[in-house]
């Protein structure tokens, strides 16, 4: 494991991606909590209709305007409609007209149907929040693998046919932000399970191909506990193969064997990750179900690792 310097975690804009269900939002929430404790102004940015941070922090629903979800931690959701109005306002300078444009039924149909509109307004919103010096770090909870790659490809895709004009400016400023190693980092979150590891290695290789992106950390979440040492595991196997068969405690031994296998799989997965991915790594243990405990546990671990 690389010694975590925490350097990439101090950049202003942090993107997080990884396979679905690996606990991206939880890691993000923990980092935000640690940043707030260190006196910073963290802002969690979520995309789309589903919000995790309000569940994680047991706070009221997060909306388009940043709201405080925990002491010192703010969150916002990039909702399509207000983000679109914000983008149009930035071009027309007059919000009432922008609202009319966004509500024009023909244009609405176009905006809802045209590929890329969500990605553009999202990039614009992130850049807008980044320009507002109030926030730092800004932690963006991207969608999982495939769609995150599409997101990072967008500036390149659009640049092909946007020679000039306002959208070109959005694309250029987004590309500049993404390419700035002083301001931006992309982190990958995973769990030590075979499917997730395969996808993570693929994702990492794909991100590496995009040379203007700057990768930060690999977070390995939910590492199962090692309950028993090697000798104890051997004893368990031995007992299950002979003396303990049919005994009332046999189910407990079978469970111990199962959990040992899970841990073995996890060790193998982590070795595979280290072999193929040369990013500084931070690993977190599996936590009991209960988001407050998870966030507290993770943010303690992050502070111990030296991120201030």
């Amino acid at each position: 494991m690389h010694a975590p310097s925490g350097e990439s975690l101090t950049r202003q804009v942090q993107f997080f991606t990884g396979k679905g269900g690996v606990g991206k939002s939880t890691v993000l929430a923990a980092l935000a909590t640690a940043a707030a404790r260190a006196g910073k102004q963290p802002l969690i940015v979520e995309l789309g209709t589903h919000t995790s941070s309000s569940h994680l922090f047991h706070s009221p629903d997060v909306g388009y305007q940043p709201s405080e979800v925990a002491p010192g931690v703010h969150a916002t959701r990039v909702l399509f409609e207000p983000a679109l109005v914000d983008y149009i306002t930035s071009r027309l300078k007059l919000r009432p007209i922008a609202t009319l444009v966004a509500k024009n039924s023909s244009l609405r149909r176009l905006f809802l149907a045209a590929p890329g509109v969500d990605e553009i307004v999202t990039l614009h919103r992130v850049a807008q929040l980044a320009a507002d010096q109030r926030w730092g770090p800004i932690l963006v909870d991207l969608e999982s693998t495939g769609h995150a790659l599409m997101f990072f490809d967008l500036p390149g895709v659009l640049a092909v046919f946007l020679r000039d004009g306002p959208l070109r400016q959005v694309v250029d400023s987004a590309s500049k932000l993404l390419a700035d190693p002083q301001r931006c980092a992309i982190h990958i979150v995973t769990v030590p399970e075979p499917l997730a590891v395969n996808e993570t290695i693929h994702l990492h290789a794909e991100l590496r191909k995009r040379e203007d992106l700057h990768l930060g950390y690999l977070f390995i979440n939910r590492v199962p506990r090692a309950w028993l040492d090697e000798d104890e595991n051997r004893l368990v196997d031995h007992e299950l193969a002979g003396a303990s068969v049919g005994q009332p405690w046999a189910p407990n031994l079978a469970l111990a064997q199962y959990l040992a296998q899970r841990r073995q799989t996890s060790d193998k997965c982590i070795r595979g990750l280290h072999h193929d991915i040369d990013l500084p790594t931070m690993a977190f243990g599996a936590q009991d179900d209960g988001s407050a405990t998870i966030i507290a546990g993770l943010s303690d671990a992050i502070e111990r690792a030296g991120f201030r």
Binding site: L92, A113, G146, D153, V157, L255, Q257
Partner: protein
Amino acid sequence: MIALSDDCRLAFCVGVGGVGKTTFAAALGLGEALRGKSVLVLTADPARRLADALGIHGLSDQASDVPLPRTSDAGERPEGELHAAMLETKASADEIIRRAAHDEARAQRVLDNRIYQAFSNTLARSHAYAAMERVHEAVHDARYDLVVVDTPPAQSSIEILDAPARLVSFLDQRVVRWFLQASDESPQLRGGAIAQRLLRIVAGESLVSALSEFLSEMAFLREGFSARAKDVRELMRSTSTSFVLVSSADALGLEAATSVAAEVRSRDFELAQVVFNRAFIPEAARLGADPLVYPERLAALAPKLERMRALVSAEEDQKRSNIAAFCDEQGVGAWSLPEARRPLGDPSALAAWMQQARLVSPST
């Protein structure tokens, strides 16, 4: 056993990412094939897991045959068939254009269009449109009795559900027309001309011009595309279409499941089944409720074994009560599937896993 109704022709597996949706879609398709249907499992997930789950190498836009496991000791083969394909947006989109154009030169002009090229390869919405076309084609393919669609995670799965309606709304209306013949003279088009001028301000001249050019190249596709989008939209509401919600059983998973269920219902789609994956560990089923007395030789191990038992039992109880609460709140039954001991990587393993499903009924 988790099964779809006999008249089901199309099933969408929906849910947030990382809950085992692709694996479940593979297992569901396999189960139906073993019941005698000819099934196509179509994954719309940009990440390629379906091939792994089915133990086949490489999956493409063209359907591959998946060998079914023998159903009896005598080595009998089941009657059904299982096929799998992965949606490749660009390949599907190119195919759609070629089919619709009826003319090589015309097709080539669209395929060469830079807007088409930029968008057919990337972006969630392009993906959703191509998926919709592929689903339409598969459902009307006489080789298949049933099409199982594995949708991409969360946000994008909703994107797929909304794609037909959005496209119909866009193509049916004046929007396209004022791109093609914007004019201030016709009063009918005046609103459109104003809108287009505003669009030029917010999106830029070059994009609007490129878009107009693209839409006129695409004009011949419009009717067919719109008709198919309407078809798919109707198909999604038909009684022969089922939505299967797949979720994890932890607290965050439940929150997500509740919101996806609401998304499905708000579109008037029928939620046919709910499946909680990794809802239990089979090994935990035989754990007792109380601490045990161990023989002397296990004395050193005993406290650790007891801690494991207590922790795992508590986790299992928590998941069980999460699922029960979901069923009561939604008034639906649900299936629990166990955590698989090893990654599921072939049809026999998938079938064995599905056999372990347990039904949970709402208490009222």
